[in-house]
């Protein structure tokens, strides 16, 4: 048994200030190190990175950003939809669970990136290739997490449904789905990260569009300020997409959000 006797901090200072201070201090140190020539040539200073970002935001940034965003989102959605469908099938028909669970362990161990060259051979240097590989990588975590979540939640809440004599639809909507929400959101979040990162990788070696491609081009042109700016953009894109996921979970209802730990 643990009893937490620590006094809660006063709310006058927001909890994020140490983070903000550290980021500022690091940026300052980074800037000084670059101006003092302490870092290897090619490291772009924060000031020139932001300058490059502002310059790119004046035009060339948006088309690759939109491309990568649409690939990551469509890959995520398609992969998640297939994943959820597989999970429902596997949970609804127990014999399929026993057969699949063994080879799922094997299949998901195969690095999805290894399929990028094969996808290039089959689909060419195209948008389709990108969407296929990012859907593929998004499929696994959603299928596995949703299957585990649905199974556990069905076992847990079966008796509740029996006692309350709930009809099937209400049972699914009010018991099974919220019960599986925590696992499902874990899967969706892993899938989102995977879809974004596979989109960028596919653009780096395959499809000559999107943030991955412009990043490599900037690197080959020795424009390190632009490389740093694009990396910042890709990272922010990840943060924004994660935030979007939280919003979606909250929109699904208070019960879902609470069980998913997003409230």
């Amino acid at each position: 048994l643990t009893i937490d006797v620590r006094v809660k901090r006063s709310h006058s200072v927001p909890a994020w200030w140490p983070g903000a201070v550290l980021v500022l201090v690091l940026c300052l140190a980074w800037q000084l190190a670059v101006t003092g020539n302490l870092l290897p040539v090619g490291v772009s200073s924060p000031v020139s990175t932001v300058a490059a970002l502002i310059r790119l935001a004046g035009g060339p940034l948006w088309s690759p950003l939109f491309h990568t965003l649409s690939v990551a989102l469509s890959g995520w959605l398609i992969g998640s939809a297939i994943g959820v469908a597989i999970a429902v099938l596997v949970v609804a028909v127990p014999p399929i669970w026993d057969i699949t669970i063994a080879f799922v362990d094997l299949f998901r161990a195969i690095p999805a990136v290894a399929f990028v060259p094969v996808a290039i051979l089959v689909f060419g240097f195209s948008l389709k290739m990108e969407v296929v590989v990012s859907s593929y990588v998004a499929l696994w975590p959603v299928a596995i997490c949703a299957a585990l979540g649905l199974r556990d939640s069905r076992i847990q809440y079966r008796e509740v449904g029996d006692v309350l004599k709930l009809p099937l639809v209400t049972r699914l909507r009010s018991l099974t789905l919220p019960g599986a929400a925590r696992q499902l959101v874990i899967g969706l979040r892993l899938a989102l990260g995977g879809a974004l990162s596979l989109a960028v990788i596919a653009e780096m070696i395959g499809d000559p569009q999107g943030l991955g491609y412009v990043m490599i081009s900037a690197q080959q042109a020795q424009r390190s300020d632009e490389v740093f700016a694009y990396v910042l953009v890709v990272g922010l894109l990840g943060v924004v997409l994660n935030g979007l996921l939280v919003v979606i979970v909250r929109l699904m209802g208070a019960g879902m959000a609470r069980t998913a730990g997003e409230q």
């Binding site: 490291v43 080879f103 060259p117 094969v118 874990i186 990162s197 991955g212 020795q222 990840g238």
Partner: protein, 269 residues
Amino acid sequence: MSADPGQNLAVTRGRRAGRLARPFKILIGLIPIVVLLLICQLLGSGAGQFPKTSEWIQQLGTLGGDGELQSATLSTVKSVLIALAISTVAGAAIGAVVGRSALADRACSPLFNFARVLPVAALIPIAAVIAGYSEGMKVTIVVIAGIWPVLLQTRSATRAIHGVVSDTARTLHLGLWGSVRKIFLPILIPDIIAGVRVGAPMLLVVVIVVEMITGLPGLGAELTTAQENYNAGLAYGLILIISALALLVNIVIAFLERLALLRWPAPVA
């Protein structure tokens, strides 16, 4: 919310997998793959996008005949092992230090969160601009990408250590090294291992990504070369090799985990 959603999954999965006899499970798992390979053999065309399985093996044999396949596999495995060693030690150390101090924890959180969602591949151009393509750069990127599971798991485990434990160390005058060795390390090892379990397969993936994009020697580079030469048979064959390697990593880690948990069992909550 837990520190990293992926870790929970791995931990529960690990526990589940422990109940079934592992070799048996792997054998059942291999059946669909064998079936898939047979279908490829029967339906595949001689050349083109979907070559026969025998063509994959033949192409692998050609590559192996020059010793190129072996040296590529060796350099991929070497990078994974070096990166695994560095990221485990550094991740555990940083995670423990950050987890001990509430202030450091809050200060580092935004940076950690940004680094965690940043796709690994995005780091490659930065590293290339700074250091050019080299073995050191390869390992550096892989460590930066693969350190998070161990770091975050150790951080949350350290945060959960009860105050009485550190008081005990102080009362016994164990000193820094003594308390790390006798108290903190045994408590943290199960969580460090859980982190490694999630992180190790990621390390292999990242090594292959770096090789694919930079062309540094390894299986990833062989794969892109095969694609550029429209050698689909070799590409499929290399996927087979990479998959076997990924499976091997999982099996070895699961074995080491069981071994380590015998010596340092996870505390009962």
